[in-house]
Symmetry: C2
Subunit: 124 residues, 2 copies
């Protein structure tokens, strides 16, 4: 049931270490040892995270080089962005309403306290 | 460790039923019974999903009305969109490269097979 691609992607992203690994891979390919560097984690623990990312299609691991470098594949993140876009109107709606409210507040602050003053007669 | 807001949001989204509930809430507030409607699921099962969504801040439940309607809160989805935007260049990069490749292919297809034909003279 949770094997649909989008659920796999969201589940893979629901972990700060896995998101940090993806962030590292933005600079290019890295070996498991390089990826493990910033974490107080054993290589098997990092490998486990990589398997989750690989299963979700977020990384690919080369089968050619002996060090099997990991590479970012952003295609599933595009699906996430597309899915999220369907809700954009709701958070932008909130911001619009906040914006309207602030504009109204400002307009009220700028209003003269006792109504418009009358014209004192035209210049000749 | 997995209690950071972004991990909570991603974990809540890693389920097709919960995403379907959010989709239903785009049309406005709904009761649990209404939300359960489309699913072959007991009310307690739906309530469990709602609790996960509520914990991630994706829905709020009114404490006033007796039927405690659920309401979408898209703010955490904005965080998801912002996080995903950091990877946009990678999927767009792929599309750009595909686009370049297709343009090159098309240019080659349109090239005359034996070099440009010479002008046959101007019209008088």
């Amino acid at each position: 049931m949770l094997d649909d691609p989008l659920s796999l992607t969201f589940a893979a992203l629901a972990d700060p270490t896995r998101r940090a690994i993806l962030a590292q891979l933005r600079s290019g390919e890295h070996s498991v040892t390089e990826l493990a560097g910033p974490f107080a984690m054993t290589l098997p623990a990092v490998t486990k995270h990589l398997k989750v990312l690989e299963r979700a299609g977020l990384i690919t691991r080369s089968r050619e080089a002996q060090w099997r470098p990991c590479k970012l594949d952003a295609a599933p993140l595009r699906q996430v962005a597309d899915w999220t876009a369907g809700y954009r109107q709701f958070w932008e709606g909130n911001l619009d309403r906040l914006d309207e409210y602030l504009t109204r507040l400002q307009a009220r602050a700028e209003e003269p306290a006792e109504g418009p003053t009358e014209s004192k007669g035209d210049t000749p």
